[in-house]
Symmetry: C2
Subunit: 370 residues, 2 copies
């Protein structure tokens, strides 16, 4: 018989999940209520309004997918793409690659814009892709690449996408609530995020928003969405509309946690939260660069909340990373793809974004690397 659960308390400074505020854990441990309880339905309305406020959008089709960020990604793609549709996917890390994979499974003709990992997609690259495919249905890119720590400038790209008459789809998983992500101002047509990064809720939910133009594309589909679970023509009747139609059983406890974490974000204020992430990032740099750590990403494209850093020469990254976890209970992330074994991904997201976190990490590293 397995023993009672006694998880070791960790300090989460990897690529997510991040530390969760005690009030969020408390909300999540409230006794449950039914997913069609009028009180829960009202709570869903408030969650929706808070997701709109944090995405800086007025989109009526704003809701939360009952699955992790990659289910949010798939939701956007399966609803907006049909077999034969042209799309352009910009790839500068793992998650752009994943979008291309899913778009292919939708039967779309995928035109890839490949960029070296750690860099961002340049408008000139997109221009070239649009010269070859002038009227794609959709252009997708990752705002904050969790695999590389690069932050994609959005405004010029957005203008080009709309000039081409295409829908702009954006992965906001690691940028949401940590750096500016202005859905309406940047004319983003479909955006998804995750709960476990700068929002500091437990993983498992994906806030999503669709513009009026994206809703129109959905309404004009010729074929059924290939996924029943992610079909927004069904899901939207559960998240809005006069009569809430049962679709699936919402993850009630996770929505409780999301409510409380969104409330804490709005209570702090988005601008203050962005400033906090920026300031703690600079503090982290001031502590680790003198120890010989160096950033992968050029300064102006650095994502403040996810820091990809090469270790100083001569150290075995896995050995030190394991010692951090086992001796100090501090988690940092290893590299993905070609960066595996070469760099770390140090997250300072949401509740994990404090000077105390940086001091714990820097202090532990000084002991381990002396």
């Amino acid at each position: 018989m397995p023993e009672k659960l006694t998880p070791t308390p960790r300090i989460l400074m990897g690529p997510g999940p991040s530390d969760v505020h005690p009030e969020v854990l408390k909300a999540m441990s409230s006794p449950l209520m039914g997913h069609l309880d009028p009180e829960f339905v009202q709570l869903m309305d408030t969650v929706k309004a808070m997701v709109q406020d944090t995405f800086l959008t007025k989109n009526p089709l704003t809701f939360v997918v009952s699955g992790p960020g990659s289910a949010g990604m798939e939701t956007c793609l399966v609803n907006l793409l049909e077999p034969g549709d042209d799309c352009i996917i910009c790839i500068n890390g793992v998650f752009g690659g994943r979008m291309a994979d899913i778009a292919g499974r939708c039967g779309a003709k995928v035109h890839k814009v490949n960029t070296e990992w750690g860099k961002v997609t340049e408008p000139s690259q997109l221009k070239k892709a649009l010269d070859e495919c002038p009227h794609p249905k959709l252009v997708a890119l990752v705002h904050a690449e969790t695999s590389t720590g690069a932050l994609q400038p959005m405004e010029e790209i957005s203008e080009m996408v709309h000039d081409a008459g295409a829908l702009l789809m954006v992965d906001g998983v690691t940028s949401y609530c940590g750096v500016p992500l202005k859905v309406d101002e940047w004319n983003i047509d479909a955006v998804y995020s995750g709960s476990q990064k700068c929002l500091s809720a437990p993983p498992g939910l994906s806030p999503v928003s669709f513009s009026a133009k994206a809703v129109k594309a959905l309404e004009n589909r010729k074929s059924k969405v290939q996924s029943w679970f992610l079909d927004l023509s069904l899901v939207k009747n559960y998240w809005s509309g006069a009569k809430r139609a049962y679709h699936h059983t919402a993850p009630v406890s996770a929505i409780f946690a999301l409510y409380e974490s969104l409330r804490l974000v709005l209570d702090e204020g988005l601008e203050k939260r962005w400033a906090r992430h920026h300031e703690v990032h600079q503090y982290l740099a001031s502590q680790l660069e003198p120890m010989g750590f160096r950033f992968l990403v050029e300064e102006k494209y650095r994502l403040p909340n996810l820091n990809t850093m090469f270790l100083p020469g001569g150290y075995d990254e896995a050995k030190i990373r394991n010692a951090l976890l086992n001796q100090y209970n501090i988690e940092v992330g290893g590299g993905l793809g070609d960066f595996a074994g070469k760099l770390w991904r140090i997250g300072i997201m949401g509740e994990s974004c404090t000077h105390n976190h940086v001091n714990m990490l820097a202090g532990a590293l000084k002991e381990l690397m002396k």
Copy 2:
């Protein structure tokens, strides 16, 4: 600014979620750990072993989908069906209908066996379907129809399906951990359930198991699985294998809760738990039948944990159901489809399966219906 979350405590006697044990809520509110933390990976192994034990299977491909039961349903279908495959789907309620919808989205040729709601599929009906389509790739049916409260006998059907060389897929959402569901003994090739019924964990996860024959079908696919998120050729590398490959961020807190709820089930013992559901069901009948409630389902096919009952004549079901919720904080479920406004679905599942629950419900009804 929305207020701090203060959900009204409810007594959950609908079709799920059911009440959750305080130890499960406590486990879920533990501080998080990373989804690739060696301690969490070990915990996943234990969860997998406990899912095997509760499904009564030794299937190595046993795991938990990071989404609700309907995502589990879709996982089974998208992995096992390819465009052009023949399948037979038995429909005697909402969830059989949903399976047919999803199978159609997979491009399969769907042969439906329709049965009146509240009844079960007779072997003779399946025989007729097999006469018309002798070599389907898959036959799917619902073990416990949550929309009607009918419990499907499995053994004769299973034999017929395997004689036809087909895979047997079963919806075990509402039967799992409440009534016998013997995956290996009944030769079930693909089964999925939900966390929020007789397991009494919060909604949002779906335990799933595939037989060796189902794994072979997966390996012999000619086309990619249409869903990336639910593609088992990818998911299985995260849930097992020497090197755990990152697929998506697991819902850590929900897995904590699942661990503890599975532990409580095994601590009680499956047979005792089945007996408890049966006994409390009889007690419920003894309390409500004298008040004029009558069962939809014939006695021998009644699902003990989900009781579909017509109200005595002359009462407005919605009015009484709302009064139960608003005055007594007791949730029971309304009818679905043709049964909307006509009957109730009274759940006595997991932690909600006690004499105290029945006494609270019967006592409140006596006051409301006098």
